[in-house]
């Protein structure tokens, strides 16, 4: 077991954002967190990378108490792609990626040839080597996101926390980024907005609603028309796609007569 969360609770002021969450991630798994807006997906992740600190509960990472580790030690084990990707200052793409090396650095350490190689490889992996000298400020949203992924690659951790990494990206970038993360072969816990994406890439899924884990299991177990209706209030049709072998969800909007569809509950 790589990551084990037990009874984690966190409140913003009086409002309970997550309530008694239990969750675990095993070595090599790709685990998805899904749920409606405001269900607490981001809050769970933020409590893990310590942007927030939980009111209650324990988090064990590789057998150790995660919160007892120094920030630096934690950053050597856990790579994070958050939603905060604007840098209002003037940096080159390669400088942003090189920041992923900082947890490996002591005071007075300068970037070595090895660091530069790691940064170059990370950019090559994402097909961004030509943009190394471009100004990060002037990139498009999809390009920025790829740079941030390159940064987490340069960080060289084998566990990634991703907070809706493909938000606001067009479909080619969404697939590209998830494909890339999958190819890294690392353990992943990711909040995912799009259920079809979750079905394509996740080994297991946790469903959050109102700050509680209400469902857990493989995509096939979790993504059923009844569950989707219970959680999102949307009617849908589920099939296993012959090409991918994965669950594919077709939504049946009211306007198209979805309410009358035979397979819905």
């Amino acid at each position: 077991m790589r990551l084990q969360i037990e009874n984690m609770t966190f409140s913003y002021g009086d409002r309970k954002a997550i309530d008694d969450i239990c969750l675990n991630v095993k070595e090599g798994e790709f685990v998805g967190l899904i749920g409606p807006n405001g269900s607490g997906k981001s809050t769970v992740l933020k409590n893990l990378y310590r942007a927030l600190s939980p009111d209650k509960g324990t988090v064990t990472f590789d057998g150790e108490n995660l919160f007892a580790l120094s920030h630096k030690k934690a950053a050597l084990k856990l790579g994070v792609v958050g939603q905060e990707n604007d840098v209002p200052f003037d940096f080159l793409v390669e400088e942003i990626v090189a920041m992923g090396r900082s947890p490996h650095k002591k005071f007075f350490d300068f970037d070595t040839e090895q660091d530069k190689n790691i940064v170059r490889h990370a950019l090559e992996h994402l097909g961004m080597e030509a943009m190394a000298k471009r100004n990060y400020l002037h990139l498009s949203g999809g390009e920025k996101q790829r740079v941030i992924i390159a940064r987490v690659v340069a960080q060289e951790t084998d566990f990634l926390l991703l907070d809706e990494p493909t938000n606001h990206l067009d479909i080619s970038y969404q697939l590209q980024i998830f494909d890339f993360v999958k190819r890294l072969g690392v353990t992943v816990l990711s909040a995912i907005h799009d259920l079809n994406m979750a079905a394509l890439y996740c080994d297991r899924i946790y469903v959050l609603k109102d700050g509680k884990v209400i469902l857990r299991g493989t995509p096939e177990e979790v993504l059923t028309p009844r569950n989707i209706f219970d959680v999102y209030g949307v009617r849908s049709d589920i099939s296993v796609h012959p090409a991918t072998g994965k669950v594919a969800i077709t939504y049946l909007p009211e306007a198209l007569g979805g309410a009358k569809h035979s397979t819905t509950p």
Partner: protein
């Protein structure tokens, strides 16, 4: 050919730091030489160089005295301490600007704009006129200015944080409000001043001027500048990461709370001792980091030393202008920097709102 060489050195994507630092150090040295010579009484740069050389141990004796005693007194007693103070004050103000900009993650932070100068001035005036901090002895002015600066930074920072983020509107407005409050406090303190001499000193000091610089003024700001620069350079990665945002910085191994506290301390310490010797000179902390970033980008390993050098050079020359423009009258440096820096601030603000 020459353009090619220049482009190779001052290339934003890959600046040649060694050459840039060397050129700027040379520019700083030349500026100091000219700065010492220029004023209501002019002394030729060659003479300045000779007078300075004659003071260097070992080789000093070999220099023939070809200058008048008056020149020597002006150079060594009046101008040189003033120019050196200008370098130190300029460098400090620029580095304070860089530090505050990393702290609030915004280009527009400057000790003057965010009311830190006013806060330092208010508490310092209190000390100056009523002797509140007299028990601290020689350094009472610096320490009281430091307290004022620290309190103001913490206030402005706390007020402008909304949901864990610095809100730019809140930041600028709270800066304005706090500097008005602090200016009001200063006014009340000066109006109720018990003695006229103290009042005269305080008014002169507050206008932001390097006139009346003595060698003794130099020690504390220089030591503080060197210590703070070292602390900042050691943490240059942390400063870079803070610009990504608190969450990303934390995820990349920075103890954000600790670093922010350290930055508040460093910025207020430097602001306090600088303002204690020069009064409030505005906009240097805004202008210099801005041009530095245009030159070498945002990496603090480059931004910190280059800002310090550029800041020193800028203040030395603005101070030359301050004593030349209305000679023999002195003009406060703060007025000139405001006239140059104000429009740049408006320009940056306009560009910011377009983005």
């Amino acid at each position: 050919m020459r353009a090619f060489v220049l482009r190779k050195i001052f290339n934003r994507a890959n600046p040649d730091m060694r050459v840039i630092i060397f050129v700027l150090t040379a520019v700083a040295a030349v500026s100091m030489l000219f700065g010492v010579g220029l004023g209501p009484v002019k002394v030729a740069p060659v003479t300045v160089a000779k007078i300075l050389m004659s003071r260097v141990p070992m080789i000093g004796g070999a220099i023939q005295q070809t200058w008048t005693q008056l020149d020597q007194n002006i150079v060594l007693g009046l101008r040189l301490p003033r120019v050196c103070l200008g370098m130190v004050v300029g460098a400090s103000l620029a580095v304070i600007g860089v530090t505050m900009q990393a702290l609030v993650r915004n280009h527009l932070a400057d000790p003057f704009i965010l009311g830190v100068s006013s806060g330092a001035a208010a508490i310092a005036t209190l000390g100056m006129l009523f002797g509140v901090f007299a028990f601290l002895g020689e350094y009472s002015l610096s320490i009281s200015a430091f307290i004022g600066a620290a309190v103001t930074i913490i206030f402005v920072y706390t007020i402008s944080r909304v949901h864990g983020r610095i809100n730019i509107t809140q930041l600028l407005l709270s800066g304005v409000a706090i500097s008005m409050i602090m200016d009001g406090v200063t006014r009340i303190i000066t109006l109720s001043a018990p003695n006229a001499l103290g009042l005269h000193n305080a008014t002169f000091w507050m206008s932001g001027s390097l006139a009346g610089a003595k060698w003794g003024y130099l020690t504390l700001p220089l030591i503080v500048l060197l210590i703070c620069m070292t602390v900042l350079m050691i943490n240059y990665r942390g400063l870079n990461l803070l610009l990504l945002g608190e969450e990303s910085a934390g995820a990349l191994g920075v103890d954000v709370r600790f670093l922010q506290k350290a930055l508040v301390l460093v910025a207020s310490l430097m602001a306090g001792v600088t303002i204690a010797v020069s009064g409030s000179i505005g906009f240097v902390g805004l202008m210099v980091p801005h041009f530095t970033r245009l030159l070498v980008g945002g990496d603090h390993r480059k931004v910190l030393p280059i800002s310090a050098l550029l800041g020193g050079v800028l203040v030395v020359w603005v101070d030359v202008a301050a004593r030349m423009l209305l000679a023999p009258e002195e003009m406060p440096v703060g007025i000139l920097t405001a006239i140059i820096g104000g429009p740049l601030f408006i320009f940056l603000l306009k560009r910011k709102s377009k983005e």
